[in-house]
């Protein structure tokens, strides 16, 4: 298990080239440090890091099921308290957008509401990638997935991302933040801050998936950065229910720049009427910029 690297998510795992989630998870773990216990939902991250008998995890780590990472983490935290070992480790629960926003929503709500001292990290790659790119409730508008395909009478996904940070805030979660693999320092800073706060914390990390988004694996960081620079993925911190910070956008880029380098939006540029759809997506970005004061 021991390696010579400092990375707490060790290399040698089986993630795809350019995987945003593996990068995001490594940054989160390294920022959190070794004194953590991690509960992981079923999904890519679990599969590519723990092909038995190997494990890429240099921290104590448990995977139980798809929808229960938040409840398992609640149990870990309760046990540490009951056993007088609270100072031994911080507890982190993590999963993808499907395991968090869809099937794990009930358990997550329970963890928030009971005020467990747990940081929940959602690696948001905007679809069920492990099962082959199916639509989740965090899939963006007009994204093409295998269960929200574009077609003669379809532009792809018909809804836009569920507002999970707002749901966390509504639970009274003291620290709610979004971040992106485009900005490693931002992840590091926010993880450290989150872990310094007692109680439930929610962090959503935007992690491109070259396989599911159909972009060049070498462009993962560029894609992630454009999501921020267009206003489509606002990066903010909400503390005690109040907007505490936003990552400003220097020069706002049109959403086309983000959409055109990803195959999941290609139909918007090929089919007649696509321009109208792109306008709808631009409106979402514009509203984000206004709502969060991103410029």
């Amino acid at each position: 298990m021991k390696t010579t690297t400092k990375n707490l998510l060790a290399p040698g795992h089986t993630a795809c080239m350019g995987c945003g989630q593996s990068l995001g998870a490594r940054l989160v773990m390294n920022a959190a440090g070794p004194n953590v216990i991690v509960a992981n939902a079923t999904g890519c991250l679990e599969v590519f890091t723990t092909r038995d008998p190997q494990s890429a995890w240099e921290v104590p780590w448990i995977h139980s099921l798809f929808e229960n990472a938040a409840a398992v983490a609640s149990g870990i935290e309760a046990a540490l308290k009951a056993l007088g070992r609270k100072d031994e480790a911080k507890v982190i629960a993590q999963g993808g957008d499907g395991g968090t926003a869809d099937i794990g929503m009930g358990a997550l709500s329970g963890m928030f509401e009971r005020k467990h001292d747990v940081l929940y990290v959602c690696y948001d790659n905007e679809a069920y990638m492990n099962t082959g790119i199916q639509r989740s409730s965090l899939t963006p508008l007009d994204s093409r997935t295998t269960t929200s395909p574009s077609g003669n009478v379809s532009w792809g996904n018909i809804t836009h991302k569920k507002d999970l940070p707002a749901i966390a805030v509504a639970h009274g979660v003291l620290y709610v933040t979004t971040t992106s693999v485009a900005y490693p320092r931002d992840i590091e800073k926010k993880v450290k801050k989150a872990l310094s706060i007692e109680g439930p914390k929610y962090m959503q990390v935007h992690v491109p998936c070259p396989l599911g988004w159909y972009h060049d694996p070498a462009q993962t960081i560029t894609v992630a950065r454009l999501a921020h620079q267009t206003g489509l993925y606002p990066l903010f911190e909400i503390q005690n229910g109040q907007l505490a910070s936003v990552m400003k956008i220097g020069t706002v880029k049109p959403v086309e720049e983000y959409l055109k380098i990803q195959g999941r939006f290609r139909h918007l540029f090929q089919k007649e009427g696509g321009a109208e759809e792109i306008k709808r997506i631009q409106t979402i970005a514009d509203e984000n910029i206004k709502k969060f004061g991103l410029v």
Binding site: M1, P34, N35, V36, I37, A39, N40, E46, V47, T50, R51, D52, P53, Q54, S55, W57, E58, V59, P60, W61, I62, H63, S64, L65, E67, N68, A71, V72, A73, S74, G75, I76, A78, A79, L80, K81, A82, L83, R85, E88, A89, G106, A107, S109, G110, E113, R114
Partner: protein
């Protein structure tokens, strides 16, 4: 709520009290000093967890009581806590057990000795809150040890034994104590309560070899491919064989320490010279005992084999107990729809029809589903019928008038 029994009684002293079954279980859970309890309310399990919540609220047990939003999370909380090194407890029934089912398999696979009380209840649809065994039967393949108790003393005593069995380093499996909903959970019976000191001596603190800690950062729940998965399953099956010995040994140790036999794998009543043996599980065995007493007075050679441990299935003990007897009559409160009685079909699998060890015949009665009263006459009538002519499968006290369709 009444104050809990004080724990100041010293070694060897026990106290007899009149308690509701749920309270007896809760008080005995307390004596086991669990670190984390998690539950979601469902009738008829509620009294158990209410009592425990009060015990924790009164400071009589230092434990984390986690009120969750579903049974799925209750099981997941004790899973996480168990993996962190805590002794854990949960209770549920019926739909709750079914909602937990996915987690139950996971707990067994992770080799976590969680203890769970199943306050047995029927399964929907139709919705029905009364007792049968259909819920626990749905979990029979999950890798959990399953014990069906006859009365409240047994339910309470089994609580202490459940940790002793499950936490053995050579076992490391979860234990489900099945007690009949309402019939036991809500019934008042005298219960002998041991002292804390005696329970502490019998049940040392839980010290697992492997648990989640940064001191030794282990990976739990890795993905296992075709090259090793089967071995993981084999190991549980292999352990289940050891569990049989462990259950018997624990029953003996318990008897030595507390002076009463709460049972091991099976129990026999008037079985020595019996020509007809009734087989059953849970509280219905109490009614069977009354029936057998009456039949014995009439000079009939009738006895009982009570199946206490259903998983692991006590094949050897049952084969021996039922060997060569003229009539075996299996009564059960669950059915594998499209097949028949689950217990009966497993008992039939023990015998080769041509062998001289085989019983003369084996009859199967489904009884008491959805809380239908099991009276002495229900059992008596079935016994008389089966003795005249073996019954492959039938439902006792079926109201045939209700079955007539109309349109």
């Amino acid at each position: 709520m009444t104050k809990t029994v004080d724990s100041t009684r010293s070694r060897g002293e026990s106290k007899r009290v009149m308690w509701e079954g749920s309270r007896a279980v809760a008080e005995f859970v307390k004596l086991c000093r669990p670190n984390v309890i998690s539950a979601y309310p469902i009738t008829p399990q509620t009294h158990i967890v209410e009592e425990l919540a009060q015990i924790v609220a009164d400071g009589d047990l230092k434990a984390e009581f986690v009120n969750v939003e579903s049974e799925h999370s209750a099981a997941s909380v004790v899973l996480g806590a168990g993996a962190t090194g805590a002794r854990t407890y949960t209770a549920t029934t019926s739909q709750g057990l079914l909602l937990m089912l996915e987690v139950l398999y996971n707990i067994a696979g992770l080799r976590l000795p969680v203890s769970l009380t199943c306050a047995n209840r029927a399964v929907s649809s139709p919705i029905n809150i009364w007792n049968d065994h259909q819920d626990a039967m749905a979990a029979r393949d999950s890798g959990w040890i399953q014990i069906y108790v006859e009365n409240n003393q047994e339910a309470a005593d089994m609580q202490i034994q459940s940790y002793k069995i499950g936490e053995d380093k050579d076992i490391m499996l979860p234990v489900m104590v099945c007690m009949d909903g309402f019939i036991l959970t809500h019934a008042y019976e005298p219960v002998d309560v041991p002292s804390q000191e005696d329970v502490d001596e019998f049940l040392p603190p839980y010290k697992p070899r492997y648990y989640l800690t940064p001191r030794t950062p282990l990976t739990f729940g890795a993905m296992v491919g075709p090259e090793r998965y089967m071995e993981m399953r084999y190991l549980i099956q292999e352990t289940m064989e050891k569990v049989k010995e462990k259950i018997e040994k624990t029953a003996n140790e318990f008897k030595e320490k507390f002076g009463r036999n709460s049972g091991g794998l099976i129990d026999r009543y008037q079985a020595g010279d019996a020509e007809t043996l009734l087989v059953g599980m849970g509280s219905m065995v109490g009614t069977m005992r009354d029936v057998v007493d009456k039949l014995r007075k009439q000079g009939k050679k009738v006895g009982i084999v009570k199946v206490r441990t259903f998983r692991p299935f006590p094949k050897e003990k049952l084969s021996e107990a039922l060997k060569g007897v003229k009539n075996v009559i299996v009564f059960e409160k669950a059915i594998s729809l499209g097949e028949g009685g689950i217990l009966c079909s497993e008992i039939k699998s023990l015998f080769d029809a041509k062998s001289k060890n085989s019983p003369g015949n084996i009859s199967n009665f489904i009884i008491g589903l959805g809380g239908r009263d099991i009276t002495e006459n229900s059992i008596l009538g079935a016994v008389e019928r089966a003795e005249r002519q073996p019954v492959e499968l039938d439902f006792v006290d079926l109201d045939r008038e209700l079955l007539v369709g109309g349109d």
